[in-house]
């Protein structure tokens, strides 16, 4: 699947994502009043049919949650961002954000964190290509009661391609890891390629 992007396009995309991550990290640090270090995210284009299997090993044996948020911009840029966490990880951020620990707050906290991660990162990405995104409300697709893989199978099959972005957020004293998946439909992939080509030419 990765062959559909030329090497130039891939490099360009990686660069855009790096910058977006930097912006997001800066904003998060100011918001949380703590130092935030975001590692350079590894990106990978994967066939969405392979996604459930890829995450099965990582998330199925532990308590994990999966939150989805749709995004829509101009030039046919659209898709669904999925954030996967291990729940014991999320509690550390929750404490930082001052949440209660009952289960209703837990879901609220998960959607809040996901929304903050997703929108700051994607806004940073969109800003670099003169685009603006709007977002749907984040939705918990699976939490401790439900099976993560089953939820992924249900979601992933609607999309042709997925951009897998491994994000590792490191907060002072709190290490926090999660995975972000950008699921993108076929025609939006073509649009993204055109956008990337334009940037490469301008450069």
């Amino acid at each position: 699947m990765s062959t559909i992007f030329s090497e130039e396009q891939r490099d360009c995309l990686q660069e855009l994502i790096n910058v977006a991550m930097g912006l997001a990290s800066d904003k998060l640090a100011r918001f949380l009043n703590t130092f935030v270090h975001l590692q350079v995210p590894a990106i990978e284009l994967v066939n969405s049919a392979q996604i459930p299997a890829q995450f099965d090993a990582q998330y199925n044996s532990i308590e994990a949650a999966l939150v989805s948020q749709g995004f829509l911009g101009s030039d046919g840029l659209r898709g669904e961002a999925i954030v996967l966490y291990q729940l014991d990880n999320a509690h550390r951020i929750a404490a930082l954000l001052g949440y209660e620990t009952d289960s209703a707050s837990e879901l609220e906290m998960l959607t809040d964190i996901s929304s903050i991660l997703t929108t700051t990162f994607l806004n940073g990405l969109a800003g670099q290509i003169d685009n603006q995104l709007s977002y749907s409300a984040p939705r918990v697709l699976s939490s401790r009661q439900n099976n993560v893989t089953a939820a992924l199978i249900e979601t992933a099959c609607h999309w042709e391609m997925a951009l897998k972005v491994d994000i590792s957020y490191q907060l002072i004293d709190h290490s926090f890891n999660c995975d972000m998946l950008l699921l993108i439909p076929g025609e939006a992939v073509l649009n993204i390629q055109q956008i990337l080509d334009r940037i490469v030419e301008e450069f």
Partner: protein
């Protein structure tokens, strides 16, 4: 803006709430939907703190949300599924909803005016319908789950569910090394009773006996209907001697008072077999049932209306008697 003639009226007639606050969380705008629902006039509250005007909003939480919108310049959301409402408003379906407040989906968006001043715009959608459907669904599922566990006639647990609980309790008792006992009992000469008073008479005895016995049990005991007139009780954290005591009380509660059915007074009694868990392994619960069954068989053999505890030596006797 050239579409001013359009946006103004649409905002005012929108069936959703629109609220705008500045960076100090002072109210800048409320559309008609919000003004009408909250009985507040924009002219009276403009410039006042949101938290003073709507005193019961969750202030700390909402401040944090707004701060993230202003700081990160990205939207924030609140769903009725996690927080039923942000601003307490009446809804328009008081008759069909169990909640008197409008369930809300809220979107908080960053806004800037031409001078560069920053605001937060909160859109409030009425999600009461979804909330009501969800509640109906949940009550229905609960009822369904309940009826899946309960024997319709006696309201004791049905056999399938009771056996599941027995299995779990046996595992628990083994893990924590706590005693566990089982009572199996059977109404004496129930066939005759049915023949004499009809099946409705028999049913009324089953119902009444179940009520009396349940009153003698703890919340942690599992009382189920095992077969037609046969019942089982799992006594958690109870050794044989204690279980025999409970069984004696139950036996007496049934025989001491006759059941009134129409003009008849129906005298009934039960025979109870008692056994304590002593086996280990996966089939321990089956062995336990087997032991209680042997004891019940003996209670019948010794003349009914009595309690018999399982005695390890008797297994062989029964096996011989059967063969």
């Amino acid at each position: 803006m050239s579409e001013n003639w359009l946006t103004g009226p649409v905002l005012e007639q929108l069936n959703s709430g629109v609220l705008v606050v500045d960076e100090q969380f002072q109210l800048v705008y409320l559309n008609s939907f919000l003004q009408r629902h909250s009985s507040v006039q924009l002219s009276e509250v403009k410039g006042k703190s949101l938290f003073k005007v709507f005193a019961d909003v969750p202030e700390i939480w909402l401040r944090r949300k707004f701060a993230s919108v202003l700081e990160l310049q990205s939207p924030s959301f609140s769903s009725w599924e996690q927080r039923q409402y942000v601003i307490k408003l009446p809804h328009l379906r008081p008759a069909t909803s169990s909640s008197q407040f409008m369930a809300q989906n809220c979107t908080m968006l960053p806004l800037s005016d031409p001078a560069g001043r920053r605001y937060v715009c909160m859109l409030i959608e009425d999600a009461t319908d979804a909330f009501v459907y969800q509640q109906h669904l949940q009550t229905t599922l609960q009822k369904l789950e309940q009826s899946n566990r309960i024997d319709g006639l006696t309201q004791a647990l049905n056999r399938r569910y009771w056996e599941e609980q027995l299995k779990l309790e046996v595992q628990r008792a083994q893990r924590y090394q706590q005693p566990l006992s089982l009572l199996l009992f059977d109404l004496d000469k129930f066939k005759q009773l049915n023949d004499q008073y009809g099946h409705l008479g028999g049913d009324s005895v089953l119902i009444e006996v179940t009520v009396r016995i349940r009153a003698l049990l703890r919340d942690t005991d599992w009382f189920g209907r095992y077969g037609g007139e046969e019942f089982g009780i799992v006594l958690t954290n109870t050794a044989l001697a204690g279980a025999v005591e409970v069984a004696e009380r139950i036996c007496l509660a049934v025989s001491a008072t006759a059941v009134t059915f129409h003009e008849h007074s129906i005298q009934s009694s039960i025979s109870v077999g008692v056994a304590q868990l002593d086996a280990t392994g996966e089939r321990a619960h089956e062995l336990l049932i087997g032991h209680a069954d042997v004891a019940l068989y003996n209670a019948k053999r010794y003349g009914r209306n009595r309690v018999v505890a399982y005695n390890a030596g008797e297994t062989e006797f029964l096996l011989k008697a059967n063969s």
